[in-house]
Symmetry: C2
Subunit: 301 residues, 2 copies
């Protein structure tokens, strides 16, 4: 009994013949000639070593073995149908899973709107958000844990991954209403450096950007506090312990009620936010759909 050579068309042929009851009808349903179907059934019976249909030139009767095979065939075709439908649903992003890594500022400030829109368009997709520091975002995407990542477009980012810039996130100075930024005007970066600075911890993209700006200005940063979380920085500023410089994107995370923001006139450094993905790797359909959505939503300001 040669089972391995059995193909899906064999199953389809048997099913059609069982349902139609005649070779002619079954062949028509399958879209081929009666002779072709006859050969196929004969060949299958030969390979199986079992007669599936008792037939003469006038009648066709399914044997017990034929019915047994038909049950198997029906299950098989259902499985194929279901499987392909499932795959098609996956490809067309109707179901699946999408993991997005992002800097905390992005996940908090930008992602809510995006994933809101996405989950409306693709309700069947399980969304996972990974908020991590800059390095972890790249790591997550590179290792495949995350499909996409939102990160700042630093040099290291662009070399390891494909980076698609979305918009520039400008730095503003944040201070207490009664603090050194009380005057409602733009401040120069040199001015700010004179104030007590609350800086983000090293390893964050914000800190990386600020360090780079200092380098270009030929100055150096001497922070009064270093904090790991944006909210902490906000709290410290609210307590009038100092000022800080943050990208505007991060502001929604903070409670701005008791804070004021001022432009930095000559800071120059912008945080270029973009979408990272592995180079040379095809995006999963949900990831591609999400990328499409992001582009469509015109974040560029």
């Amino acid at each position: 009994m040669e089972l391995t050579n059995t193909t899906l068309s064999d199953f389809r042929a048997v099913m059609a013949l069982i349902d139609a009851g005649t070779f002619r009808g079954a062949a028509e349903r399958l879209g081929l000639s009666p002779s072709a179907l006859s050969r196929q059934i004969t060949g299958l019976e030969t390979r199986l070593g079992v007669r599936l249909f008792d037939r003469d030139t006038r009648n066709v009767h399914t044997t017990a073995s034929g019915e047994a095979f038909g049950r198997v065939a029906r299950r098989m075709l259902y499985t194929v149908e279901d499987g392909m439908a499932e795959f098609e649903a996956y490809v067309s992003s109707r179901q699946g899973r999408l993991t997005i890594a992002g800097l905390p500022s992005v996940t908090a400030g930008l992602l809510p709107r995006l994933i809101g829109a996405f989950s409306v368009e693709h309700p069947g997709i399980d969304l996972r958000i990974l908020d991590a520091l800059s390095g972890s975002v790249l790591e997550a995407v590179e290792s495949g844990i995350a499909d996409l990542g939102f990160a700042a477009g630093t040099v290291s980012t662009r070399s390891r991954m494909h980076f698609e810039p979305l918009f520039d996130d400008e730095f503003v100075a944040i201070g207490h209403p009664d603090g050194p930024l009380a005057e409602n005007r733009g401040y120069a970066w040199a001015e700010i450096l004179e104030m007590p600075i609350i800086a983000m911890a090293e390893g964050t993209s914000v800190r990386e950007l600020i360090d780079g700006a200092c380098l270009r200005h030929g100055t150096s940063l001497s922070p009064r506090f270093e904090v790991a979380h944006l909210a902490t920085a906000g709290a410290l500023v609210s307590a009038a312990l100092g000022v800080t410089a943050l990208p505007t994107m991060t502001l929604p995370v903070l409670n701005m009620a008791s804070l004021i923001q001022r432009p930095i006139t000559d800071f120059g450094a912008k945080r270029r936010i973009g979408l990272v993905r592995r180079t040379g790797r095809t995006l999963s359909p949900p990831a591609a759909a999400f990328t499409e959505l992001v582009k469509r939503s015109r974040l560029v300001r």
Copy 2:
């Protein structure tokens, strides 16, 4: 997306490539050349409109879509494997169902030994016994309710079905020890007709045979009692109400403790017991196996 043309070899190819990680290894496992596999994967990807593997000349990486397809493919191949194993088990009579119709005398006297042996050889097969009158046996087999039937080989039987004779069941006279058959010798049929006869109801094969014998002897039967069931006949004889003539095969059904049996010297009619099955219909594998067992058990006496 062309889903319908997807074939089992596509699933096998994807599975092999996922598992092996290289075209070369996968091709070897599939028993074909790397180029053929390359074309197959490319063709599948084209039909699906989705890239399943990211590959350069050196590395092969499964995409998210490829893994999704792989999950579907694995399920598919398991289903095929299971299904074919199930069918193979059915064909080789390791599982399935077998319905045997038989005359009450046969089912009671002969079948127990046979189905005992059969269920030892084929423990996975569900056995159903249909004990019915002669006509019902044929009906059950003809309609497909029963796969096989044990019946007496009358003319009508042979014309409608394929009849395979197994053995001849001879008639003996049954009486009460104190009745007219008290003498331990053979009795002529004419003698017995003089005694009070307990006959089986019309429609039973026993009655059919006896009527035939009377016809040949130029006599006629005038039964004192007519009963539908063998056990009833036996009970009547036990009560010394008369004598009866029955095939030896039926005797195990009766309680012979208070009965005696005597040869009928010139009765001449034997009941030819045989296996009936539909003409022109292939037997189900369990039925074929059972037939084989019956032939092997050499019932011919």
